[in-house]
Amino acid sequence: MVTLGDLKTPAKNTWCPGCGNFGILMGFKKALMQLGLEREKVVLVSGIGCHGKMVNYVNVNGFHGIHGRVLPLATGIKLANPNLTVVGFAGDADQYDEGWGHFSHAIRRNIDITLIVHNNMVLGLTTGQTTSTSQKGFKTKSTPFGSIPPALNPIAHALVSHGTFVARGYAGDMMHLTGLIVEAIKHKGFALLDVFQPCVTFNYLNTYDWFKERVYKLEEEGHDYTDKWKALEKSFEWGDRIPIGIFYKEERPTYRDGLPQVKDMPLTKLPTEDVDIAPILESMM
């Protein structure tokens, strides 16, 4: 069984004191402990941004990839070896701006991976610019007169992209978040977990206090996560009250289930030697 000590790495943590990322980091470690997963069977894939350093801070397999490409990278790993637990970590700009083009596709393919988005509604590592989840009117160095368009709604997008597990967590409630990460990883299929992650340095608007006043738990209000229309309705709830928890969940065959030739067989276990192409050559004669 994996312990907190096993997951520790020698890397020095460089996040700002009080950063919402700490809640996600601890939540993930605790989830791994609860799930009893072997470290060697877990692969952490991250993109570019403060969240990307997750690879340095959790002692499991890791690939710190490039901006916006967490999902195709994680997809390649998972399709090659379904015995691995693949968890992608992305930032809001990383996934919803640069990587937006992969979002709906990974979801509709129902690749059996988990995506945890550190959604702080601002670009932190590049010292404070707007992102696609920044609130309309949000003032940053790149939008000194306020962000013009309304924010993207990743939860609603995931739902209409045939998402089979769509949830939102809050980094300020680590216990609750840990439970969501456990459920997301356990889910067979693509799990989106969007996490409110206050950026204490660059997001002056969406602070811990701001979230604390607003977030409430769907499960505490009797939300039925098997009801897609209800989930969609809930995904548009924004303002004084903002829901967290599981919006929607269903079982649907994964992408790999549609590939009978490999079933649960890792591609890495298939021999590369002696693949006989004689029948194809024969057909070309």
Binding site: V45, V55, N59, G76, I77, L79, N81, M265, L267, T272
Partner: protein, 581 residues
Amino acid sequence: MIVNKISVLIGGEAGAGITRSGFLFAKACLRGGLYVFGTNDYQSLIRGGHNFYIARADAEEIYSQADTIDLLLALNKETILRHKDELVSGGGIVYDGEEIILSNEELSRDYLKLYPVPLRRIVKELNGAIIMRNTVALGAAIGLLDYDLEILNEVMRDTFKPKVAESNIKAAKMGYDYAQEHYAGNFEYRLEKTQTDGKRKIFLTGNEAVGLGAIRAGCKFYAAYPMTPATGVLHFMAPLDRKYNMIVIQTESEIAAINMVAGAFFAGARAMTATSGGGFCLMSEGLGMTGMTETPAVIMLAQRPGPSTGLPTYSGQGDLRFVIHASQGEFPRVVIAPGDVEECFYKTMEAFNLAEKFQIPVILITDKYLVESHGAADVFDQNRIRIDRGLLLAEEEYVGEEEYKRHKFTEDGVSPRAMLGMRGAIVRTNADEHDELGYTTDDPELTTKMVDKRFKKLNVLIRELENYETTKLYGPKEADVTILGWGSTKGPIREAMKILSKEGLKLNYLQIIYLNPFPVANVQKILKSAKKTVVVENNKTSQLSSLIREHLLMTVDHKILKYTGRPFNPKELSQRIKEVL
């Protein structure tokens, strides 16, 4: 009478089955013992426009299309008007005389022979689909040439489903009988089979040969976004995925494709993608990531003329410098340019070995002319290239003396690569500069060490390549003229050599197959004793000349460049060689 030497052009609108018909004709010639070559020309549209396919057959070995046409199979009038000037004196035109009215003024070539065949009426009599006109024309061609119709029938039985084959066989027979009845002995060209045992060679496109090489090399994951002219690999691999236990996935973009390939290789599977220039642009950042993370990757780039969308269905060689330098920063990579279908197969297999052995990206650079033309080859030797996965740890458990380090410093720079999931090994890599364990670093000494580590592999790679066929010399060692080229110009250059040799010119040709790392020693050896050098390329700036200049400080004497989107023709090229001498 001209026996066993013919160039046939079949042309018509897109969607009329032009390429398939040309392919069938060429294959029927191949089965009869002739040497064949087939190439297509089409526009970027789905219906209408003008498509054609040139099938050439000869008793002598051939490597490309010919400059001229002996027999035109015209499914529409446009085909005749466009190609009448390419027809030789005594050349024939098979067309539907009841559909196409040709006035003498329009044709204005009294040296051509007209062979009207009621293609549409015959198809109607057979209650067949209108697309079968091409098969009737094919049958008529076989009849005109007095060739063995049964060979074509066999090829159609092997190509189509039984029902489709039978109706096509009927259609071909009607065309054949019509030609025999009306035009027997009228055409100057004849085909005779020179062998009776049929299947001895394979006939395939470069795309198919690349796909075959990948499958034989144990590629288990193919990810690609459709882009002409590389889509043929996707089309080839997709129906084979179940039989060969592969995953073939059409991605949302080329960015996704390269990242998925990196993921699959990182997990420990052999993986590949293919694209053209535009898609390769999108892959550039991912390419750099594979360089930084020392993740193997195999990418095939089939060039077309650029910049940007350029001529999307034509051929060019303008991307050589691009693939050698693509992506920011510096990292070792291999660039290989196969020149025919055989090399497409064997070099793809080599690409997988080098990618894994040195944990670097390997790029196969081809072009439309190479990957979409059909070439004949001896049946590929499955065992010529042995699979070598390099330092890949595939055991259940890691038993090193110390903690597993994905980027461990070693003498030759190559770190043992553990498959993901191996007990006792945590595998971590990083697109940021990193330490041996894969943790992010910005330490100046460590950065230097890591860059040096990655480039140490280059030295070993260069030594390794001494055992590879990185260049190939054709013709005598000593010659008055030395031609240099890479990739698909190989066919036309070898054809031009045949012509010029017959005219008494003493020339040789150095094909450069590995463009990066540049095979300096091999090229130098030839250039040192070369009397006159001519570089032949399908681009504007002669990128090979600039590489020679860069690596050898030598300037080539002449450059023959063509950038119309079309390949060189043999006579055209031989003329241009003579002009510069």
